[in-house]
Every structure is written in C-alpha cells, then in structure tokens.
Symmetry: C2
C-alpha cells in the first residue's frame, strides 16, 4: 500500500470510520505508560495498532479474560547457546511471546568470525523474530586459547555500521587499563554512534566509573543488589538475567523499586533450547519476578517498554496508536502462560525447514589416536566442584579422569591435557564442541582409546556432544552448524539431551549435575582458578599458562 | 585532543589516576536513575563527567550545601515569544539553568519562512545554549489571514533533514480529516525518521487515536488531568507548560504519579523575557511543581532525564560517567534558586553583543492615514473578556474602540477593521507587530489619526509595540528582528514593558490586565469565537470570514 493510503487508512480506522483488519476484543490491555490494565479492544490495520478502545474489525478474536501485552524483548542473548538453528530458535521463543531479541552471536563468531555473524543475521531475517544483531566485541576472549577467528579493531570498524551495536565488552580489565586494541574497538562504535553493551563485575566506585565512562549503557553481570544499584547510578540499564545457569534471579529482583524501575530490562544470555521449552523464555523472567513479589504490571513494563527504550527500538514495547502490532495474549499474569502471539498483526507460524542454510563443517583436526592422550603431567590436577564454574588446584589421585582440549579450528594439532577430579567417570569418555569461548573439542575420559573415538566421531559429524563406552559411540547429538547448533525442534533437542544424560550415568557418573554444562565452562580462562585450553593449563591467579 | 587520548584521559581520571580539569566538591548530587541525592564530588574532564565519587582536580569548587542537577531542558518553546534575540534569550535562560531547548521558531517562520528558521538556528549556534530546531509544520496557521510566508509540504521535505524534527502539528482537524497537505507534511517527517511534536485538544478516544496514530509523541496542550492521562495512555509525553499565559499548572501536576512519572516533561511554550527574568524559566516549573506537592527529585527527573529520553538526546539529562557536563548548582530544591551553571564543564558567560545578526526590515505596508480606519461596519463588535483568550459577539456602543489588523508582510493594503468592546481606551492608540500567528500589525484606537501614527511609527522602526496619544508617540519598544524581537537584555525589556503599561494607563485603560498580551491573540483565528485578521472578521463557529 502506498504510504499516504496507509496513513489515511490508519487514521480512518483509528477514528472508527472504517473496520480494522483485526480486532482483539475485550481483553485486559496493558498500558505500560500509565502502569495499569484496561479492558478494551485493540484495532490492528496493516500490522499497526490503530487504536485501543471500542472497535470492530473484518476479523475479530474474543480475548475476554486474557491479558494482552506488547511482544517481549530479550535484551541480551547468545542464541547459539540454545543449540538450535536461528530458525528453530525463533519459532521457540516466539511461542513464548518474545518478538525481539538483542542478539550477540559471540559463540559462532569465535568459530567462524564475521561470516558467523552474517550467517545468524541472514537466518534470523527469514523468521518472524526481530533479531537486532550486535557485533561481538571480544573475539577471542583471551590470547591463551586458539579460537576459530579473531575480530580485530579494523574489522569492528568495517562491520559496526550494519550491526545494531557493539556486543558485550567483556574485556573490562582491558578497558580499565586503556589497552589500545580495546579502545580502538570502542572508538569504532563511537564514530558510528552505535550503542555498546557492557559486561562488568564488581562494586569498586572508580572501576565502575572507569568502565562506564567509555560509554557502555547495559550490564547483565550484576549478581548482588548493591552492584545493581551502583550500576544504575552510573546510567547503566541492569539486565536481569534468567538463563540456563542463573542462580540468584529472585534475589536480584530485590534491587527494583518504584524510582528505578525504568532502568531494568530482562535477558536470557545463555539458555539451552530444552530449558526454554520447559520453563519459558522472557516469560520465565516475568513469572519469577512476580513470584519474588514484583507487581505483574512492573514485570510487563520491564519486559517491553524498558527494553525498547534501552535499545532505542521505536514503535515497540507498548500497545498504543502507531505502534507495531507485536502482541502477546497471556492466559494469566502470574505464570504468564502464553495463549497466542502476533507479530505485525499476524499469528506466528512454523517456517519451512528446507529453508535452513548450514555452514559447511567447521571441524579441522590433526589425526587423533589413543596415543594423543598418553603423556599427561602428574604434578597437578583440576579440582572440579559440582554446581560451580570456579575450579581449584588439586592433586592426581586414583579417581582422577583425563581431560583434554583438542584445537579444532585450524588443525594446529594443539592438545591441552591434564588430570581432573570431581567428575567420577568410571569408564568411557564424553566429548563436545561446546566449550566457551573458543569452542574447541573438550573431552573427558576414563581411558585414552574411548577419548580418541569420541573426538574422531565429533569430527566426523561436524561437531556436537557424544558419549562413548567400550569402543562404541552409545549416544551422539550432532550439532553441525558451527559445532554449536542443530536444525531440530526444541522437543527433539530435549530428547537427545535426556538420552545423553542417561548415557553418562552408564559411565558411572552421578545424576546430580550436568557434566555437559560443566565441561562447557572448563575451558574458559576468564573464570578462576584453574582451566584447560588447547594451549595447556591456565592459572587464573597468575593469569598465564602454567 | 585526539579521540583516543581523550578516551584514555577520561578513563584515567574516572579511575582516580589523574586529576580532573574541574571537580565540584561535596554537593548533593542528583541520581535521576535511582531517584535519590548523594553527597559526592563530580569530576569533569574535557567537558565530560568522568565520575561521581571522591575526586581531586586541577580546579576545585566547594559546593557543600548546594544541590547539583543536570542542565534543565525546555521541551517546547517558541523563543521569539521572549521578545529577545536568540543570543539574549540564550543568556537569560542559561542563567536560570536551562542548557537545552527544543525550539520551534513558528513565529518568525510566519514572518520570514525558512529564512527565519535558519536565522534562529544560526544565532543560537553562536551561544552556549543547545537549541534543537524543530521545523514549523503549520505556516500559516490558517488560510483566513495573510502571513509573511508559507511552508508547504515540498519545503518540509527539503528542510526536515537538517532539523531536529517537525514542530507542533497544530492543524489537528486537518490530520483527523486526512487533509492531503497535512499528511504529506507528516510523511515527509516519517521518511526521514524524524520526530513530530503534537498539539491536540480534547479527550475523545477516537480523535486521540486518530491523531496519535500519525506518529506524534508529545503534547503541551492538555489542560485537565483526565486529558493528560488519556494522552499518556496513547504513548504521548505530556509537556507540563509554564509560560506567560498558563493558568492551571498546579492542577496539571496532579496527573503525575509514581507509575507515569517518566511520561512528563516541562516546557514554557510562550514566555516573555520579562517573565523569565522575574519568575524563572524551567526552574519555575520545578518550583511550582514542588509547591503543588511533587517531590523535588521527581521535578528534577522530569526537567532533565525525561526530557532527554523523550527527545532522544544522548549523554544528557543525568549526572553519570560519559555524560556531558551540563550542570546546575542550586541553592535549594524548593525555590530552585540557581547558584551557577556549567555548560560542557565551563561556566556560562555573557557573549559579545556586536555579534548579533539582524534581519532587514520585515514591515512592508501601503501608505496608512487616518482615512484608512474610517469605514467600519457597525452591525457587530468583538466582546473582549479580560483574562480570557476566548471572545464573544457583541454590539457597537459608545465605549467601543476601533480595532484594525494591517497586513504588513506583502504590502497588499489589506486592512481588517471592526469595533471592539472591553479595552476601554479613552484616548490615543496602541499598536504592535506581535499578533499570533501571522504577526500583522494590530492597532487599537480611540481615534483614527492616532491609529495611523502608531502604525506608521511601527513601520518606521521595523516593528514593535507603541503607545500614541494626541498625535504623539509617548512610548515605543522597537522589535526590529522580524518585528518580534530586540537584541536587548531582559532587564531592559522589562523596563520598556513597564513603561508601555504605564503609558496605556494614561490612555484611560484599567491596570488589571495586560492589553499587549490580549491584543497579541485578538488576531488568532483558531481561538473562538470572533477574531479579526487582515482579511476581516473571522467567526470560529462558522469557521469563515463573516
């Protein structure tokens, strides 16, 4: 429709002179500006909200007894952590009411660089999900590991223009120390007037000022109320995170009060597809917030208006004339069960699976055999602690397992190798290509031969997660998209993950923790105290390979 | 300073590793994000706030016992209504703590068109005041009068790009009726993704939806609490106005509550320089709001953060790292007496007067003599009501005065002429070139000869306000810039206006009203019910010249 005809029609429908395309009748409609619910109709024409009031439409849907909110917004997410392809991810979160995500494809960027970022953007563009792509700022996370790609300041300069902003600036010590490369990346975003997401720990007044003076405006890493309030005072939006690994969401809700309400958003950061399936997406944040004592209207405001304001997303985050008709119909505002979802006035649909593009294999390794894992140092072991990402220094004992990190991007042949305690693997091996942030192959084993089989099997299928016992692959989940994602539904993913977990129990592991999640962080140098990368054992205290 | 050096210095100062350029020590510093005051230092470097905390600087100013807020923002103003040149206006409002204005030069645009808009932008650019120029959308206001210029949709298209947005869209009936010219102007703003200011009366649900669906996001015309709430629900920011003619500011403050606080801003709209001098600028809105029961912190938030968010003004409206160091030091937060003001970390200074550009005379009239005012219709008169802008239909009596509107832009010779009751002019004449919105010459007289002298005198000096008695000009204030403004200080303006008022009392007028203000609205057709333009008597009911 020609723009002027479109505008005329909007005005005429808003005034009640013409019928709307679609009217949602008689629901409790949220007014996020005034902080209240009003029983009313919503008139939609050409994907736009013409008005809230008393309307009739060509199509009318009775939503009496339901609650209508704007589409939910996830303000910080690495969608690759779902293990689902962008298209399957989009379908999943849309079904939970999320219509916009601020996506930082940091994981695939560590594997494929800019090409990975472009892949995510292209695939999301095929969906009804509005994914605003942030350019990953810190690839690789450290120089103590081999990643698949590097994004240097020059590339940031070249690509920032077409991205929505610069992704979470994790290297906050680099900022505080005025590291040239860090500042060049930040300046590249400044020059294009692009927003920069933050990632910062601590409450030191001077460090916070030193970090935020560089222009970051968000942070999803606060873990205490005091930290949240210190961030907010410095102009930062605090992103209340509920992902697969979040532990203290309810406590964090305690930071919200009537004066600072507008400085919070919700995010998921890292959330596996099976967790989204079981618990929800941003509607889980809302449910937990209300469970922790927050008014429902405030949870809705945080999930919609605040997020839109934080990220300058015009005509979204509210139900008002001229706003885009991204709408969620909830059965209730306690559990936030989604009844149906509209994107630009259209019901959400499943998309055609044949449409998914899959990057060719990203696994490049030198030949691996049992011998590859033979010579291990015995002077030290990692002590893994269940339920924690932090590890400790330990000694080799009879229950120690072998842990290896096999470089898988460039075929360097690098293998980091050590002993590790706490997993209690009695037999076999488990391996995976999800290993933050460089996503090399991490393999844990009770014997060298099964370790080699596991690694070779992953190389064969293009990455994934596998469990091997007595020379046989007893379970494998292929994640052929960059070794991180599969083009499968969340239901199928959940079944695979359940079977993987059962398979590890056959290897003698306890069932009270998830070894795949634990292994995915065992290679992340920035988390203390002792980690293994493809370059060897990394000590967080000395901040070097030891 | 090279950008990277600048950023390094910011970080090092923020971390306390280097001295700041300037530190304001020990004041109560507002945190508009958290809604609280904190006793702290503010460190400033290169015009930017590096941090709030404990700092030392090359220069330090003790502000213990004072209250520090961000620079105030006037979100809707026609600066010409001050009667001061942009440079003198800037000095005046800066002295009251206003550092940013959203300026809609609608008055000078009606006289000079786009050239007037450009003039204001150029003159403001010479000052420390950050004036964001909105392109006047409705010039002329109606077709029932002769203005100095027309800004048509094509000109809107040409000039919108370099303006901050499209100025208040006063012709709301035109929008509701899908008038082509109105929609073309709106679309011109849409295409360039520019904001559009609103101007809308009433509480009719469908009319409000019909207006706001066109994309307006602000309104300064609400006069009741119910109207404000209906506007807010529709995504509109309500601009609480305190100008020279506002009557119910305190009542309007009653619309603000803890849920909708963030949807209000302050504005002055039309405020004469002498009123700003006597009562303040946006700090008057704050004082009155607090007087009406609002918390000081909320008044500060409305005057700063809300305004910056409403107009997308980055790095302003708060005191936080990386924000621009526009700061106001207040003696107190009840009267909001300004102690000192900083713009980009520098104290506000008086500027050089020789720097003011003055447009050449804008007065073009055909020769006027006493005869010009001879033939007046006697079947009808305007009944002027003191204290109101609304007029009524009356009859000619012995106390009636003559009223004329002399077209002054194009030398058409148009003279609108009628009788008017209520001014009680016993002798002489008063005339002025301030006459909303076309700013022709309006002249009120007890005799034709003094009326002619008054008009000719204004033509001679390039516009202004004059009082004539017994063939002599007894007082004149020249406003040679477009017939609207003079390059004089507010103090001088106040003296002139006082003398003009005293002069009118010599003509027998009562002292309980301001005849110059009343006359400035007597020619505005959009205010009911009977007005006079250069084309004749206009009836608001019939919406035509009668």
């Amino acid at each position: 429709m020609e723009p002027k005809e479109h505008l005329k029609k909007l005005i005429r429908v808003a005034r009640g002179l013409e019928k709307a395309d679609l009217v949602l009748k008689g629901g409790m409609v949220v007014d996020v500006f005034g902080g209240k619910w009003i029983k009313n109709d919503i008139a939609i024409v050409n994907g736009i909200i013409a008005g809230v009031g008393s309307y009739s439409g060509v199509e009318e849907i009775d939503v009496c007894g339901k609650y209508i909110t704007p589409g939910l917004i996830d303000t910080h997410v690495h969608p690759e952590s779902s293990k689902l392809s962008p298209q399957r991810y989009a379908e999943l979160v849309l079904s939970h009411g999320t219509t916009v995500i601020i996506a930082d494809p940091h994981e695939i960027a560590n594997v494929m660089g800019i090409a990975g970022v472009e892949y995510m953007a292209e695939e999301f563009a095929k969906t009804q999900l509005d994914a605003r792509i942030m350019l990953p700022s810190c690839v690789p996370a450290t120089t103590f590991e081999t990643s698949g790609a590097t994004i240097n300041p020059k590339e940031i300069s070249q690509h920032i223009k077409k991205c929505y902003g610069l992704g979470e600036f994790m290297n906050y010590p680099g900022v505080l120390n005025c590291d040239d490369e860090c500042l060049d990346k930040i300046l590249a975003a400044w020059y294009e007037d692009k927003r920069i997401d933050g990632h910062m720990f601590g409450v030191d007044e001077k460090d916070l000022n030193g970090y935020f003076v560089a222009g970051m405006r968000t942070n999803h890493e606060c873990t205490t109320v005091a930290e949240s309030l210190a961030n907010i005072q410095r102009g930062c939006y605090v992103q209340l995170r509920m992902g697969s690994y979040t532990q203290n969401f309810a406590e964090m809700v305690g930071a919200v009060n009537s004066k600072n309400l507008h400085r919070f958003t919700f995010c998921s950061d890292d959330k596996s597809g099976h967790d989204i399936l079981a618990r929800g997406h941003i509607n889980e944040n809302m449910r937990l917030a209300v469970g922790a004592g927050m008014e429902a209207i405030d949870a809705v405001t945080i999930a919609t208006l605040n997020a839109a304001q934080c990220y300058g997303i015009g005509r979204m985050g509210a139900i008002a004339p001229s706003y885009i008709a991204n709408l969620v119909v909830f059965d209730d505002v306690v559990d936030f069960r989604v009844n149906r979802v509209f994107v630009q006035g259209k019901r959400v649909e499943k998309s055609d699976k044949s449409n998914t593009k899959k990057p060719t294999s990203t696994i490049k390794i030198k030949p691996i055999s049992a011998k590859s894992f033979k010579d291990v140092r015995k002077d030290i072991a990692i002590n893994f602690i269940k339920g924690s990402l932090v590890t400790e220094r330990g000694i080799v004992g009879k229950d120690s397992n072998k842990l290896a990190v096999v470089e898988r991007h460039k075929g360097t042949g690098n293998i980091g190798l050590c002993y590790i305690n706490g997993f209690n693997l009695k037999r076999g091996a488990i391996a995976q290509t999800i290993a933050h942030d460089s996503h090399n192959i991490v393999v844990l084993g009770a014997n060298n031969s099964d370790m080699a089989i596991a690694v070779n099997e992953l190389a064969h299928v293009g990455g994934g997660i596998t469990v091997v016992q007595d020379g046989k692959v007893i379970k494998i989940l292929a994640l052929p998209i960059a070794g991180l994602m599969a083009d499968i539904d969340a239901e199928e993913l959940a079944t695979h993950l359940k079977e993987l977990e059962l398979a590890t129990q056959k290897l003698g592991m306890d069932s009270d923790f998830n070894p795949f999640v634990s292994l995915s962080f065992i290679s992340l140098p920035v988390i203390p105290w002792l980690k293994l990368t493809d370059k060897g054992l990394f000590c967080g205290e000395k901040f070097e390979i030891i």
